[in-house]
Subunit: 124 residues, 2 copies
DNA sequence: GGCTTAACCTGGACTTTGTCTAATGGATCT
DNA sequence: AGATCCATTAGACAAAGTCCAGGTTAAGCC
């Protein structure tokens, strides 16, 4: 556990946090100016391997990192400003895929992304 | 409708087609050698705006283009080889997000990605 | 047919996101 | 103190995508 890793972990604390690698780097630099981009990428990769942080692909540009890895959830994304909230739908989406639609795959995971417009963007 | 656009449209025909922009370009070049990358990107962007083609983000690297835009569906992705199949789950996932989990958003769309291992990758 | 105009296409430069590597530096062990 | 190990750094590199200046084609109009 080095100072750099602690800073990256600190940046990724909280609910509804979904930062890109560069955003993590920017905030890490604010706390530890000499931290490098490569270290941020390495540390994020390790956190993902350890299962402490999830990669989410809601944005089609850059990967985002979600520290809420221990409570399963899905995402609700504003189509205009890109804000992301963690959400917990009812039911089990895995059960909604009948065997006839599985093409022989062993299905182990589902990722659900809701899209819409957030209250802030909706009010003109 | 120019020759270039026709070629891009032809490349994107069929079921379970999910090509990246560069794959589309490679196949388009086979039919029309002088077609440029920029034109492929422009044409794909127009097809997406027209609603004829969908962008899918199953791969975390490059965007993929799905010509099956008129029949709503979701995707089943092999975690190992990346193969993608179009699937039609039962039920309506939108209904599974209760109002208390909508945070005031106007939710209009859901994207479901199933992950697993395909039969080919499962047999050793 | 020839001219004008608009749209389209091309090639390359550029940006963004992410990965890799060689070299540095700091800790730990003996 | 010396040796060793691992993390970190800076910068080069690669992949994916965007942008722009200029050339070409197509369409309309005389």
């Amino acid at each position: 556990m080095t100072a750099q890793r602690r800073v990256v972990a600190e940046v990724l604390e909280g609910e509804h946090v979904h930062l890109t690698a560069d955003e993590v780097h920017a905030r890490a630099v604010a706390k530890l100016p000499e931290i490098s981009r490569a270290t941020v990428y390495n540390t994020l990769g390790e956190l993902v391997s350890l299962g402490e942080v999830l990669e989410v692909a809601t944005d089609k540009r850059a990967k985002r990192y979600d520290p809420n890895a221990h409570r399963p959830h899905h995402h609700l994304v504003c189509a205009q400003c890109g804000t992301i909230r963690d959400v917990h739908p009812t039911g089990n989406p895995l059960a909604d895929l009948p065997a006839s639609e599985r093409f022989g795959f062993t299905v182990s995971d589902v990722e659900v992304t809701y899209r819409g417009v957030c209250p802030t963007c909706a009010t003109p």
